[in-house]
Subunit: 221 residues, 2 copies
DNA sequence: CTATCATTCAAACTATCGATTGAATGATCT
DNA sequence: AGATCATTCAATCGATAGTTTGAATGATAG
């Protein structure tokens, strides 16, 4: 190659950033952060066609953010390592700190109300131990089944209104979802608070909880 | 807006990543990591035309990674905060861990020899205190003048061969440069080792050193 | 060894990005 | 107030990215 090594290096770094520069791929990474998945499952969850999904996944693989293995006739993708999750998190943090538009969208999700500070994962662990909190997993049932925080109830946003009466009104409710880019927990907290309940989000989702080395319960399949 | 808030959020995160997805902009960020700069200075350092440089800078500003202020008739850009530097670093780390191509380029810079592990900044500080190390700043003279680690000698790669005889042969030499994306230190260490000297890189460059809260010496202008 | 099926490739199209040129802006300085 | 000059805007071009469609691959299962 005739170009300078310096430029060649920058091209490589840019390749990683470019892999993160399309919403569709961020959506795929969000899914993969919860666990390894096949192409078809990912396409279904993200609403992409199979072929399109495959191409995005290959781009993610070329960037080194994800890797794949073969299982029978299926190809299973997964995040390469925890650094990928770190990168996703940092991207979100920078966007939330610096972009007014993000602030606006998140405020819209909360129905304009001020949401309380998220609960740290360490604090949640302590409060789960002494039972002073109701934990709510607001992801779809299949994702809950594939792994969730022990002690968490599962209810999608649609189901939330139905289970409202069953929630102890004096116990603080903590909601969590997929992690870096998921908005379910934001919306759930807004709904719960509109109904007068004391609710807040968990800081991070299941991927971060798992990355902390904390226990994850998998339903028997 | 009619699109879902979720997609809108992902678009914003992708905007930040897209800002990092062009080598020219990474190059600008590398310069800005060393300190705030005007458009013309940045264009000169990166080899971009003024207009092109201005457009890239605006894209960086839209992404929230950099901000600007006016000083007389000049517009001065700077990194928004330390998170930008973190993001640049993490991008490099992920690329170095996962991309074979990066490994190859860095090996080429070292002339194929195995380079020793970089020295940590904390260790450097200790060894500067007891004088057991020769510190070499291999950036251009103007960047050295704008701020450098106290006690560092300045020599560009071109000048390196000339000052070789003046270096104590028994003292370990530590080289540093701009930081995340700079290759000068790699090349300098390779040159020094080819001449039989005991040399290694500093982990990180001036921006990381400054971010640690360590002293930086600015030449009187 | 052949059929099957999940995945990948290839080609086409549209949209967007990056570089260049030359003109316009707009804050300063006299 | 007008001249100056750094910066930004606008228009253009070529190159690249994203989506869709349909065909090709290639590992498995019978």
């Amino acid at each position: 190659m005739s170009i300078s090594p310096k430029l060649a290096l920058l091209e490589e770094y840019a390749l990683v950033a470019r892999a993160l520069s399309a919403p569709a791929r961020l959506s795929l990474l969000e899914q993969l952060a919860q666990g390894e998945r096949g192409v078809e499952a990912l396409a279904g969850k993200t609403g992409l066609t199979i072929a399109n999904c495959s191409q995005h996944l290959q781009q993610l693989r070329r960037s080194g953010l994800v890797t794949s293995r073969r299982d029978g006739k299926a190809v299973i993708y997964r995040l390469t390592d925890a650094k990928t999750l770190e990168l996703m998190d940092l991207l979100r943090i920078v966007a939330e700190r610096n972009l007014a538009q993000v602030e606006r969208i998140l405020r819209g999700l909360s129905g304009g109300e001020d949401a309380p500070e998220p609960l740290s994962r360490a604090d949640l662990a302590a409060r789960l131990a002494d039972g002073s909190v109701t934990l709510l997993d607001v992801r779809p049932a299949d994702e809950y089944a594939a792994g969730h925080i022990p002690g968490a109830l599962n209810a999608t946003l649609a189901q939330l209104e139905q289970i409202l009466p069953t929630l102890a009104p004096d116990t603080e409710i903590v909601a969590y979802c997929r992690g870096p880019y998921c908005v379910y927990a934001h919306q759930a907290v807004a709904t719960l608070r509109r109904h007068g309940l004391n609710a807040r989000r968990l800081d991070g989702g299941l991927p971060e909880w798992r990355e902390d080395g904390r226990p994850v319960l998998i339903d028997a399949g």
